[in-house]
């Protein structure tokens, strides 16, 4: 048992935390809107080998564990960096499973992404794919097939809440990676990886939202004292480290389960859950709520200024919602989780 980062992970945290603080100040986040992609930042990340970090070593990757990638995702979230680190890592790992990785994806010269929601029957496209605006390879489910589709992204995005590089992407001219049960299993595993890393990124958002709030309530004076001295505000902010620590622990547990070679169990009656996909769903739902809560409380603590475009908290507020809701209705996710935990519902 080890409930803290390993030495390696602390080193990763230091490297990437430092990288994003240096290379991705909040001005860069603002400058990347509305597309939500900073090509120069992505290139600098690629120079560090980051896009290949989680890919298998035989394919030219770094062989990093999901737990290591979660540390990077946390740093991405802290800086709300406009780079598709999570999507690329997950899609790359999925392509590697089927021997479909290209050197360009390994190097990050081409961006790969995951269609986190299957294409509706007969639609001919995956709607609002995360990183779809900038990705060259999209991997996702079409019916009972797991396919990869190549093509340039549009490079523009419909104006959206979180300034994410979203795009509808065609499912035409697919290369089939797997079919039937194998396709669904691989897709579910990849989605669990995406949920885990996104949970870590959302945790990072919550961390910075809290830091911003603490700075503001210490500086801002009303009634002749810092507003952070008022219990009404203190009590609201005191919930945030709890949500952050809970989200971090759950995302880390999910990553640990994903990295394990042995299958996990689900025994909800004894609160004994080590199944990866179940934990990923839990981690994603919980971190979504944690990031929403942290940005909500932090924005509120700013009073009217929190609502002003000039203040940074609104940037975090919008991403806390966008990065989560791109996967669809959380209530439906909850119902799927329920099926895993309690068995499927009878019609």
């Amino acid at each position: 048992m080890l409930l803290e980062l390993t030495e390696d992970q602390r080193a990763i945290e230091e490297v990437f935390g430092g990288f994003f603080r240096r290379e991705c100040p909040i001005t860069a986040v603002r400058a990347a809107e509305p597309l939500g992609f900073d090509a120069a930042l992505w290139s600098r990340l690629a120079e560090l080998g980051t896009p290949a970090m989680g890919l298998p070593e035989p394919a030219g990757g770094g062989g990093a564990l999901l737990g290591d990638l979660a540390v990077v995702a946390d740093a991405v979230g802290r800086s709300i960096a406009p780079v598709p680190f999570v999507e690329h890592a997950v899609a790359g790992r999925l392509l590697a499973r089927f021997g479909a990785l290209t050197d360009a994806v390994v190097a990050g010269d081409e961006i790969a992404t995951l269609a986190v929601r299957p294409a509706p029957a007969g639609a001919g496209a995956w709607p609002l794919v995360p990183a779809g605006a900038v990705a060259t390879v999209v991997v996702g489910l079409v019916g009972d097939d797991l396919v990869a589709v190549r093509g340039e992204g549009p490079g523009t995005t419909p104006r959206n809440h979180a300034a994410m590089p979203l795009a509808d992407r065609t499912t035409a001219a697919p290369s089939v990676l797997a079919s039937g049960a194998a396709a669904h299993a691989a897709s579910a595993h990849a989605l669990a990886e995406w949920q885990t890393l996104t949970a870590a990124a959302l945790t990072g958002i919550a961390r910075t939202a809290l830091e911003i709030a603490l700075r503001y309530v210490t500086e801002r004076h009303q009634f002749d004292r810092p507003i952070g001295a008022f219990q009404a505000l203190q009590q609201q902010l005191a919930d945030l480290p709890i949500a952050i620590d809970g989200a971090f622990l759950l995302a880390s547990k999910s990553a640990w389960a994903g990295d394990r070679k042995t299958p996990g169990v689900v025994d909800v009656g004894l609160c004994d859950v080590t199944d990866f996909e179940t934990l990923a769903s839990m981690a994603f739902l919980f971190a979504s709520d944690a990031a929403a809560l942290a940005t909500d409380r932090s924005l509120h603590a700013h009073g009217g200024y929190g609502y002003a475009e000039e203040y940074d908290i609104q940037l975090f507020f919008r991403r806390a919602r966008g990065w989560a809701l791109v996967a669809g209705d959380p209530t439906k996710e909850c119902l799927q989780l329920s099926d895993r935990l309690f068995g499927p519902a009878e019609a």
Partner: protein, 386 residues
């Protein structure tokens, strides 16, 4: 990170589970609700016989806080009556940590038999959250101390052999610096008690101290150093030793009942999407509460005194429990209104019980507000607001 239990801990867990199956019978869990005393000597004895009590106490035996967590986690999940033994072990830890040789020779072995309980004398009629304002006086008289005052919420006092007593010994210093802690036998002349019955069935007490004379050997920690002893006790109390896993049996009880209960629409309750969403959310809360508690134990195992982390998991777990109790009482209404042993009671009366029991959990052991104050001041570094 690594969330796997070591093979040794897995074995320990399996042993506890086997013991629970053997000892924690429906009669044992039921008796706590009819007697109002959340304690089972059968269970305590069984734990003592196998050496688990000594093994789990902080600073004794193996003294591994993760084992301690595991012990209480398993007991609590089973719905076992653990309040008596958890207080006994917590105070055993305090004695091991801060006690003198006399206490280590007399009190500690008694507590480790599981037959001897202890009550916590912190709160008073006029001091609860402001616990450092305790007014119960201890005055030196030669080699002895004379104690006068009243304590509230002294749960188990009617069965306990010992009371841990927070007293005022110095009026000339700030309130935190004038406190001294004692652990004294409940049969010391001058101690009396009256029952206080509660909405949640559990019986507690008011205890009265009239010219109680005791020797200095019953003092624990330094004179005027009671606040420090209190900190040790609170760090053990919040989180690790039960109280944060209560949502687990609640979910299980509801789930088992809802799987066989058919609603007016002919559908099993468990197939209702609203109910399913809530069950999933409660399962997430249970997982988070468990991880926060485990983290507290883990930090303690690495030598830290995780009072703050304990505060955090107590806030989260108890508020989540209240929410779950409300949701499931709604989902099962009106059968959730029926109490234990009433025909048709939802989940054999557990839902009604949890609805009644849950309000106290955000009060005892430090209210949510006091715990949030701790987090705001000591973790977030915000100005002291009181």
């Amino acid at each position: 990170m690594d969330f796997a239990l070591s093979p040794e801990l897995e074995t320990f867990r399996d042993e506890i589970r086997a013991l629970v199956r053997e000892v924690v019978t429906p009669e044992v869990t039921d008796r706590q609700h009819t007697s109002g005393t959340f304690n089972s000597y059968e269970l305590n004895r069984a734990l003592a016989e196998r050496g688990y009590l000594e093994r789990a106490v902080p600073g004794l035996g193996k003294g591994d806080p993760v084992e301690l967590w595991l012990l209480f986690h398993e007991l609590e999940k089973a719905g076992a009556p653990v309040d008596g033994i958890s207080m006994a072990l917590m105070i055993a830890g305090v004695v091991a940590h801060a006690g003198n040789d006399h206490q280590k020779n007399v009190v500690l072995p008694a507590l480790l038999t599981g037959e001897s309980l202890v009550s916590l004398g912190y709160s008073e009629p006029d001091s609860g959250s402001d616990v450092a304002a305790a007014a119960t006086r201890a005055v030196r008289d030669g080699d002895e101390w004379v104690i006068n005052g009243t304590k509230m919420w002294t749960t188990m006092a009617h069965e306990a052999d010992w009371i841990l007593l927070l007293t005022r010994t110095n009026l000339d210093v700030p309130k935190h610096k004038g406190l001294t802690m004692f652990i004294l036998p409940m049969d010391t002349p001058g101690i009396t008690f009256e029952p206080v019955h509660t909405m949640g069935t559990e019986r507690t007490n008011a205890t009265f101290y009239d010219d109680v004379r005791i020797g200095d050997e019953w003092r624990i920690g330094d004179v005027d150093g009671g606040w420090k002893v209190m900190g040790v006790a609170l760090a053990f109390e919040r989180g690790v030793m039960g109280g944060t896993g209560v949502g687990i049996p609640l979910l299980r009880h509801f789930h088992e009942w809802a799987a066989h209960e058919t609603g007016a629409d002919g559908r099993r309750l468990i197939d209702d999407p609203v109910v399913r969403e809530r069950m999933a959310r409660v399962a997430i809360d249970n997982e988070v509460a468990m991880l926060l508690t485990l983290r507290t134990a883990y930090l303690a195992a690495t030598g830290a005194l995780p009072g703050l982390e304990g505060s955090m998991c107590k806030i989260y777990a108890t508020e989540a429990y209240q929410k779950a109790a409300k949701w499931f009482a709604h989902a099962a209404a009106p059968a959730s209104l029926l109490q234990f042993h009433e025909p048709g009671a939802a989940a054999d009366g557990w839902l009604e019980y949890d609805l009644r029991h849950s309000p106290v959990t955000t009060i005892y052991g430090g209210t949510s507000e006091i715990n949030r104050n701790n987090v705001a001041e000591r973790h977030l570094g915000l100005p002291k607001a009181r």
